[in-house]
């Protein structure tokens, strides 16, 4: 057990810690990719079906969300309120977590502190084992994907069953989620039908690719699970420190089944999900549905406070997960990434995400927020290409319902990233040259020598060949502006 806001390995009582909080450990969970973003993106960009699926899905969500946001006259004030609540929360996170833990405990729940993915996985597996169950049903949750809980449970002989429709598609297809809100966004309905026909026990062989038919097939498949599974695992969208109430918002009702039917409910929650008061939910429950699914009101909002005798799960556990979050909190610029409410609006508006999809980011957190969150959770060196996976167009900042300045964090993290030696030398030389106008003017004249690289620059070496692979270089003008100015 580790106290909140303290590094991994801390034991709490009376110990003084020096140095920075720990980042998420390697070898467990899904925060690190196998290859740098440009290489993974290159492959994804060549997949025409993926490109089409992503363009269609992101455009649809973007339009729907834009329309309902346009209906709210005080949207900008709501965003500012969301940011203010989150800023306040992060400023006193340890105190709020202790308040939350006390409230949950007082209401009959059990609180566990997990310093990292390894600890969290062990806690959950032990809790399931103690019930004697060999199967758990899961509510869609980013935190459990982050820590690789499904793999850890399988290793412990426990079968995890995803009940969110999109997560089920991903699980049945032995695939990885590629979007925070719509994990199977990279699949179209024809592909989903094929996965169901191949992997779903007892599926009707005459299944069509009509969305209603696909949903009905999943419903029949899951109903059996809901009625026969005694343990459920969920994440949390919010947890109210003041009351000890945990909240999950979802669109299908499958989450509600998992949260109400079983005997034991285990919730894994990132420590940044705490909010101070019940009243604060008012702000986020307006922001989240409009920014994420483009709905005016969230369809299924489940909230529970510890145990209610005779109603719902009688064993309620809350696992508070750090896994690098304290390290993020320690960075004055980067900490606002912890404000994220996982709406995925930034993914849907991102021109890079729309073309590469989520798998290219290597982490369960893709898109712009993933490009700032994953490198901070793991340490920038372990995800060094992600801060560069953006053209800094700024669409994410405008779309974020809690006003996270993602472009500024990207630029900040680029300064922390390890740089290629040749690039660093070139950049230092360029800065020196540009700080000496005479040298600078000479370099400008030298730019005309680029003609030597052949017509339109096609003979340039890497990395400049990255430009000329698809774009001509402008012909250098006969005279620079400053030469013209002197002559006129």
């Amino acid at each position: 057990m580790t106290a909140p806001g303290r590094p991994a390995g801390a034991t709490g009582d009376g110990t003084t810690f020096l140095g920075m909080p720990a980042t998420a450990p390697p070898g467990v969970g899904h925060l690190r990719g196998d290859e740098p973003f440009p290489a993974a993106a290159r492959r994804a960009l060549g997949d025409a079906q993926l490109r089409r699926n992503l363009r269609h899905a992101t455009t649809t969500i973007r339009d729907k969300s834009g329309a309902v946001i346009g209906e709210v006259p005080d949207w900008q004030e709501l965003r500012a309120a969301g940011r203010a609540i989150k800023t306040d929360t992060m400023a006193r996170l340890p105190e709020l977590l202790e308040q939350l833990a006390a409230a949950v405990t007082a209401a009959g729940g059990t609180v566990h502190w997990a310093a990292d993915a390894v600890e969290a996985n062990r806690i959950v597996a032990d809790l399931v084992r103690a019930t004697g169950a060999d199967r758990v049903m899961k509510v869609k949750s980013m935190a459990t994907q982050e820590i690789g809980l499904n793999e850890a449970l399988e290793a412990a002989g426990i079968e995890p069953v995803e009940t969110d429709l999109a997560e089920l598609i991903v699980q049945l297809g032995r695939d990885k989620p590629s979007h925070i809100l719509v994990p199977a966004i990279h699949r179209n309905r024809a592909e989903i039908r094929e996965i169901f026909l191949r992997e779903m026990p007892g599926v009707d062989p005459g299944l069509t690719d009509e969305p209603a038919a696909l949903a009905a097939a999943a419903r029949r498949h899951l109903r059996e699970t809901f009625l026969s599974t005694r343990v459920a695992v969920s994440g949390a969208n919010f947890a109210v420190a003041e009351t000890g109430t945990v909240a999950v918002v979802e669109s299908e009702g499958n989450g509600r089944m998992c949260l109400t039917l079983p005997e034991t409910l285990i919730t894994v929650m990132g420590i940044e999900k705490v909010i101070p008061t019940w009243r604060d939910l008012e702000v986020f429950l307006q922001l989240l549905p409009r920014a994420s699914t483009g709905e005016r009101m969230n369809p299924y909002t489940s909230m529970w406070t510890g145990v209610t005798p005779g109603d719902g799960p009688q064993q309620v556990h809350l696992v508070l997960l750090d896994n690098g979050r304290s390290a993020v909190l320690a960075d004055e610029v980067g900490r606002q990434a912890l404000h994220c409410i996982r709406c995925s609006a930034c993914l849907n508006v991102c021109p890079v995400y729309e073309r590469t999809g989520g798998h290219a980011y290597g982490s369960v957190y893709p898109g712009p927020i993933g490009a700032v969150l994953s490198p901070q959770l793991t340490g920038v060196a372990d995800n060094a290409s992600l801060p560069y996976a953006s053209s800094l167009c700024g669409a994410c900042y405008d779309a974020c319902p809690v006003m996270i300045d993602i472009p500024s964090i990207l630029v900040h993290l680029r300064a922390e990233a390890p740089h290629p030696r040749a690039e660093a030398a070139t950049m230092a030389a360029a800065a020196y040259t540009m700080d000496h106008p005479a040298l600078y003017a000479a370099a400008q004249r030298g730019a005309r020598l680029a003609r030597l690289a052949g017509p339109r620059g096609r003979g340039l070496p890497p990395p400049l060949s990255g430009w000329t692979a698809s774009r001509d270089l402008p012909a250098p003008p006969p005279q620079t502006f400053r030469e013209w100015w002197v002559e006129r």
Binding site: H419, P437, W484
Partner: protein
């Protein structure tokens, strides 16, 4: 009005016509343009590529060079954005609070061309003539960093002879992104392909914007495809007059090719 030209290193070196057009336009409107010759580069490339410590000397130079002027103009939304939103951050990161506050002062007096014309000089009709079918790409930094809004469009609508056609999905990034274009060349190219598709769909013969950098990207792609559409900086369109068009030895509206 006495206006200092912040030329930007890209326009100075590769796209001098955009800078010369800015000078011609402002002088035609009766203003005095000065060019502080010690200026070089604002350092945006260094900042956005992860080299704020190297950028510091360029920020210091920029602030020193432009501090004496009350009004500064640049033919670039991106470079103005860097001056206005990044310079103070770079200075603070280095612990130089005095430089940061001076950078903020210079930033507040620095205007992108359409901002200068519409907000400071109160103009939308600058007396230009440009008889072409034109589509306008709002560059990301002019749109979302310095928020020029529809100022460039208001200026273009007042240009005589110009047929303005709306660019589909105009607000999507063209994929330039500075060193993004080479570090993530494939993704950048995929974004460019969609931008070019939309430009070609307008059947415009000219694509314009307020940033030479994005135009270099879009124009480089269109040129590679031999698409028959050219890119022209907003300043060049606004500087064009009927007299230019009648001038011997120049093409239709005085725009150098």
């Amino acid at each position: 009005m006495r206006i200092a030209l912040f030329v930007t290193c890209l326009a100075d070196t590769l796209f001098p016509e955009a800078a010369k057009a800015t000078v011609r336009l402002l002088e035609r409107l009766g203003h005095e343009v000065v060019f502080p010759e010690d200026q070089t580069c604002c350092g945006q490339m260094h900042v956005n590529t992860g080299y704020p410590d190297e950028a510091l000397r360029l920020v210091r130079r920029h602030v020193r060079v432009f501090a004496p002027y009350d009004v500064v103009v640049a033919p670039s939304g991106s470079c103005v954005g860097s001056v206005r939103h990044q310079h103070a951050t770079v200075a603070r990161r280095a612990g130089d609070e005095r430089l940061a506050s001076r950078a903020e002062e210079v930033g507040a007096r620095t205007h992108e061309l359409s901002e200068l014309l519409v907000d400071v000089l109160g103009l939308t009709d600058v007396g230009a003539y440009f008889p072409h079918r034109v589509t306008y790409h709002p560059t990301c930094h002019s749109l979302r960093m310095i928020r020029v809004g529809d100022k460039p469009l208001r200026l273009l609508r007042a240009v005589r002879g110009l047929e303005l056609v709306e660019l589909p999905q105009a607000e999507q990034c063209c994929g330039f992104g500075g060193t993004f274009a080479v570090k993530n060349a494939d993704t950048s190219t995929a974004m460019l392909a969609d931008k070019m598709r939309n430009v070609l769909a307008t059947r415009a013969d000219v694509c314009t914007a307020g940033d030479a950098s994005c135009l270099m990207h879009i124009g480089g792609g269109l040129s590679r495809l031999r698409a028959g559409v050219r890119t022209v900086h907003l300043a060049e369109i606004l500087a064009s007059t009927e007299a230019d068009a009648r001038g011997a030895g120049r093409d239709a509206a005085g725009v150098a090719r």
